[in-house]
Amino acid sequence: MIQVNGLTKDYGARRAIDNLTFDAEQGEIVGFLGPNGAGKTTTMRILTGYMPPTDGTAMVAGYDVVEESLEVRKRVGYLPETVPLYNDMTALEYLKFMASLRRIPDTEDRAYESLQAVNLEDRADSFIGTFSKGMRQRVGLAQALIHRPEVLILDEPTIGLDPAQIVEIRNVIREIGKDRTVLLSTHILSEAQQMCDRVLIINKGKIVTEDTPENLQSRLVGSQRVVLRVRGDSDGLNARITKVKGVRTVESKPDGSVEFEFGAGEDARPQVAKAVVQGGYELLEMRPVGLSLEEIFLELTRENSEDIKAS
């Protein structure tokens, strides 16, 4: 459904995306994961026909995004990062306007159908200007759904929503993703893990890695990190922990705690605890820390190029 080949986009001297290649099949939800400024929005704007690439090609629903832009735009539903709404229109008027631009025969029925999909049918006649951020986000999503597109491209669809709404929107997206193609961007790792069949991690305009969430997780959980805190001075603690079998790295944190890492499958925690107590320290706390997104990026960008190719 989406085939991207060597896509490159320069903004003046700055290269926003660099030689991106990936694809997405029908019935697949693909997550674009990366920090702000990684090139997610730029890629999406090219795929939706908003701007042409500097180099490379992209096919969406079988049409070239540059040569057959109008055909692509007919088949794509797009929710941009800044939700494009007219505050002086009611939700229903807005959706009817978009439906008529998309040549849908019974605009009113479809507008209601879309509003139902995002649970806003009771606010159909309210002005969009009076909506909360979460409601605006949902109207934007309704707009992207109105023509039942083959491909749905969503730029940060859950941003600004409260937890209950996030669950709702995720369900809507998952439902759509069963038979259509969804490409969504996020910078929240858990979101990508929960919603997507496949995750593309993008950083500085390049795809760092591409995998299913399960594989990604198991690759990332190749090691386990634990934070340890003792009462009083922690001098000499590092040396003790380093000696324990299985411990790979030990690091003192400025707040006095110590963080150590050991390989998966060789749980070093009992030995570390024993060593700490035997050393006369009073153990206050020992808890595992998850890898933050930044750390995953560091982790992944540290991997050598062969590793990336293998994935």
Partner: protein, 249 residues
């Protein structure tokens, strides 16, 4: 073509909830109304002396043309600049709508709004027709009003084009106003100073001459029509190109 109409309709509807649109409509109708009243009063006062002369519509349409110079920048400034600022341009540029259809739709929507004001101002010739026996010069009314509509259509097209270049409404307003001042007044001066064919060229470019010296006097000439249609085409071309350029940035 249908897309142009859909966009035009939304734009037209928007004017009726926009304070600027009401201010513009009010000022145009108030000013032309005052001129109309003074005109009638003058003719009644001098009815005996000015035997053989009848009041006509040209002072009102003449003022109307001038008022368009000042008011159309306020009507067109937000058309595309505001879409760009609000992010809704992204919506329209990723909808299956050609760039030209978007620009033409905006132009048509604003033209329909001005035509509504023009339609209201038709009460003046109707009243005048009732006051004068055996009625006023119909052809003059037609050509004067055609002139007003053509001036409006050309100014609106240029305004839409300039609005497409800017993200800031205020910038769009001043550049549009400056362009109009140039086309309406400044460009006429070289025509007076220069001689020969150079003078003719500037004379042709001067919008005033096509309106005051021609349409507003009752003559409909091909040269004038070509002038206005060219300006409309130029404005829409500038707008479409600006939108296309925006994509490549």
């Amino acid at each position: 073509m249908r897309n142009i109409w859909i966009i035009a309709k939304r734009e037209f509807d928007h004017y009726f909830i926009s304070p600027i649109a009401y201010v513009v409509a009010f000022l145009i109708l108030l000013t032309t109304g005052i001129i109309f009243a003074i005109n009638i009063y003058y003719f009644i006062q001098n009815a005996l002396q000015s035997f053989g002369q009848v009041p006509d519509i040209s002072p009102i349409t003449g003022a109307f043309g001038f008022l368009l110079v000042l008011s159309i920048p306020a009507i067109t400034m937000r058309l595309l600049a505001d879409e760009a600022r609000m992010g809704t341009l992204e919506l329209l540029l990723t909808a299956p709508v050609r760039d030209f259809e978007l620009v033409a739709g905006k132009w048509l929507g604003s033209l329909l709004f001005i035509l509504t004001i023009v339609a209201v101002s038709l009460v003046y010739p109707i009243i005048l027709n009732g006051l004068v026996s055996p009625g006023i010069d119909q052809q003059l009314v037609m050509s004067s009003y055609l002139g007003v509509i053509l001036v409006a259509a050309a100014f609106l097209a240029l305004g839409v084009g300039i609005s497409a270049v800017f993200t800031n409404q205020v910038a769009a307003f001043f550049v549009t106003l400056m362009t109009f001042v140039f086309l309406w007044w400044l460009i006429g001066f070289p025509a007076q100073v220069l001689q020969g064919s150079a003078s003719e060229v500037f004379r042709y470019l001067d919008m005033k001459t096509h309106f005051y010296d021609s349409l507003n006097l009752g003559s409909i000439k091909l040269a004038d029509l070509v002038y206005f249609v060219s300006l409309i085409a130029l404005g829409l071309f500038v707008g479409t190109t600006a939108i296309e350029t925006r994509r490549w940035r």
